[in-house]
């Protein structure tokens, strides 16, 4: 049964493919057999990922696109489909975590609001819209939206990110129901805190607040992406897969609160 995890002969498009999770997902899908179209608005980072994919023996190409611009997305997807004749898998991984600098809520500008919502939510919509008709015509497709545990929980001074990621989760559910009879599966991954850029020291302060006591390493998301990109997950759609070291269902008390109370007073 496990042979269903193989992605031999599949073509995947990874948005945000130059980032930490995007690179890890690109490589994991490639190692499972898929050829990879890397897209990102940062050409250097995207080209780097494409070169790494080639390094593990799969075909790869980089197309630049800003996911907040639907004309660029449509153009990128048309080129992606033309490249090897089809797209089987779309991973919406492009996103921005937070503003350049924290500021009082009432000072967030319209521009900042729209940038946060557009990158994290509209981007997933534009990319899915650009590929969905092609997938419906072929009666096959896998769409994986990288959401976040913060799409289900609040966080101080984090508005666009949390609201957009919550939107990604509900977008996932509605799109899954819409396309479920056409051989297309749409699922979300909700990562917790991963070390995606910079050194480990950046994450030292956060690690104690995660039940497992550490942040995730980017390659750890790979096998889950392969599972959801493959035929092995044919019976899951519209669902959210958490990978967060236990974070989602903590939060009711500090991690180090471990009560011991007798049942008899």
């Amino acid at each position: 049964m496990l042979e269903k995890l193989s992605l031999d002969g599949r073509v995947a498009v990874i948005t945000g493919g130059g980032g930490g999770l995007g690179t890890a997902i690109s490589l994991a899908l490639a190692e499972a057999g898929a050829d990879i179209v890397v897209t990102d608005f940062r050409p250097e980072d995207g080209e780097k990922t494409a070169a790494k994919v080639t390094g593990v023996g799969r075909k790869s190409v980089f197309f630049r696109a800003d996911v907040t611009k639907s004309d660029q997305v449509n153009n990128m997807m048309a080129k992606a489909i033309a490249q090897w004749g089809k797209v089987d898998i779309l991973v919406n991984c492009a996103g921005i975590v937070r503003e350049e600098q924290p500021k009082p809520f009432w000072e967030i500008s319209d521009f900042e609001w729209h940038r946060g919502i557009d990158t994290n939510l509209a981007g997933a919509f534009y990319c899915s819209r650009a590929v969905a008709k092609h997938m419906v015509e072929r009666k096959y497709g896998r769409i994986i939206n990288i959401a976040s545990g913060f799409g289900m929980r609040g966080r101080r001074n984090s508005f666009m990110y949390n609201a957009a990621k919550a939107g990604v989760i509900l977008f996932t559910m509605s799109l899954a129901l819409t396309l479920s009879r056409d051989g297309i599966r749409v699922n979300a991954v909700a990562p917790g805190l991963f070390q995606t850029w910079g050194g480990a020291a950046r994450y030292d302060a956060a690690a104690p607040f995660i039940p497992m006591g550490r942040v995730g390493q980017a390659p750890e998301i790979g096998p889950l992406a392969v599972y959801l990109a493959s035929d092995a997950s044919d019976y899951s759609t519209g669902e959210v897969f958490s990978i967060d070291g236990g974070a989602l269902f903590s939060g009711y008390a500090p991690v180090n609160y471990v009560p011991v109370v007798s049942i008899d007073k």
């Binding site: 496990l2 031999d8 019976y235």
Partner: protein, 252 residues
Amino acid sequence: MIPKEFSLSGKVAVVGGAGRSWLKELASYLGEAGADVVLFGQDEKQMAAAAQAVKTMGRRAITITTNVTSSREVEKMVAKAVGQFGQIDILVNSFDLQFAKPLVEVTVDEWNRVLATNLNAVFASAKAVGKHMLERKQGKIITISSGLAERGLPNSTAYCTSKGGVIQFTRALALEWARQNIRVNAIALGWMAEGAEVQDETWRNLLTHYIPVARFGQPDDLAAVLVYLASDASSFVTGSTFYVTGGLMAHG
């Protein structure tokens, strides 16, 4: 290519079944990934078939007849399993006793039997195997629950309660053992083929049209997700519930 992280080579899995448990299939997926398997429960015919399936794959398998609702018997089972294979890396709980009737007709005995099998047995086996896992500071525990842990269904109070309990048990234990390198996760199933609901043609057609992917689930739909949660592929996953319901959880 199957990602190498999914390998269970050198691992020992203990799989408990009661009721509708797909013991043979679950055991064979673990065996296929390279694990040796210990089967426990009371359905000896089902356990023997499961052990045979694992052996066919060139892995070792034993069966230990156990009343899964008895803590004492489960503890004895763990001692035997460790005695035989030296270690336990993975525990899979697949306890699924079902019935459906109006609440006012549910007897105390029926209520207790469902809670004992579906929920108390999860407690007993996680506790007994967990002691061993805590000593080794490693382990994976997988509970099998249902979409009915999160959704309601008429005439199903006992079942919904038990399966909801399994998921909350999973979350709470995941936090308790998160720093001991023991991962605790749940798989939640949807409408599976072979159940009572597929016997009746009217209900079968109704549900088939209702399920977003337009078919009942098959045990094979669990293969990869089971091995994912049992293996190093899920090294950063704990306290999670992976739904395999054909899209039901997205329904309004």
